[in-house]
Amino acid sequence: MALLEIRQRTGYMLLAVILGHLVLISAQVTTPGSAGKSVLEAVTFGIFSEIQRAAANGFGGVRDAWEGYIALRGVQAENEVLRREVAGLRIRLQEEKAVAEQSLRLQRLLAMRERLPIATTAARVIAGDATSGFRTVTIDKGTADGLRVDMAVISPDGIVGRVIRAGVRAAMVQLLIDRDAGAGALIARSRAGGVVVGVEGDPPLRLDYVTNLADVRTGDVVVTSGNDRIYPKGVVVGRVEAAERGAGLYKSIKVRPAVDYGRLEEVLVVVGPPGGASIEGKE
């Protein structure tokens, strides 16, 4: 046993001596391409550079893990703040967009009002009524502003409806697409006359009482005729979407309204003489 220990100790000594000599030799020897550095320096640098690389990778991994996961607790709070800020900015953007759109609409309304030869007053839609079949909106002008029942309501896109109830500071407007609404109308191209009425369905307007002999084509513009003594003559109602020969004397004509009744916001109320006025050719 003791002999074995001695041999082991001697073996370790031999190993140490060999290593010591190798280190000593390599400290004095240079290799081609080592730029004058000794083998010891080159090997030491090589080994330590690998250790440094491994350490850097290790620390980099820890740092990435820290930044990617643990530090996310702070990021979460920051994210929440930013999310709220984005939501606020989105709302603000929507508001700005709405203001811009409103400004555009008002500009168009003002331009139309200036062009029209009849007296009008601008009003804002403050409430709607989407009850099926009975379609009305409430505007913010009333008798205090000179409004009365049966006054026509128009928009830059075309005819909207008529005032059916007038309060002091507000009025109810029956839209032309209401099933009880109607207006004298004619085909702008062929001057074939009839009555446009509201219907339930799509499209929500129908042009009645146009004889089968009349020249009506799909795409023809339908305008008010002024015969009803409510709406000024020449206001756009819509376009013919389908025109078929009817079973009786009259054609079956479907009309797509020019006004988007779902997005009414500002309108003009014709406060001038109820009938006889014509805006045809002036829009």
């Binding site: 001695i6 000594m13 031999l14 001596v17 000599h21 190798l22 000593l24 030799i25 004095q28």
Partner: protein, 173 residues
Amino acid sequence: MKAARVMLAIAVALAMQTTLAGLTFGSRTALDLVLVVVVFTGLAYGPGAALFAGTVGGLAQDALAGRIIGVTGLAKSLVGFFSGVIGSQFIVTQPLPRFTVFMLATMAHEFCTRGLYALLAPGGFIFQWAPVLGQGIANGLVGIVAFQVVELLPGAVQRRRLGRGGIRPRVHE
């Protein structure tokens, strides 16, 4: 004490080696007295002592010769260690086995030295048998003589002292 003796022997060997630098066999030094001391130490004291002797002696030779320090040291350390192993594993007490060990040690030392230089410097591995064999024979002879002197000298001195005192040692015939 053992270390001191080894150090003293190496110092003497180095001194003699430098004195005998002009004695060559072919293109090589005919004798390597430091190697003789190292192998002697291995055979007499074992691998540990020989390792120490080889390291010290080889490094000193490298330093004095102005070569790469460590090459001869490593070669002598290895040779000394394995000489010690042979000395401790086998009965190497007769002149012929000792001579053989010195011969083999010389060749191994030369082989290691040339091999290391071939690795470290351009020029390739050059091993010339004749000079190495000549050096091996010379080292072996010197080693045997050294063993004889070391082993017989104490007895001769004692006999001489006894002879001066008028006492004759008993001789069994």
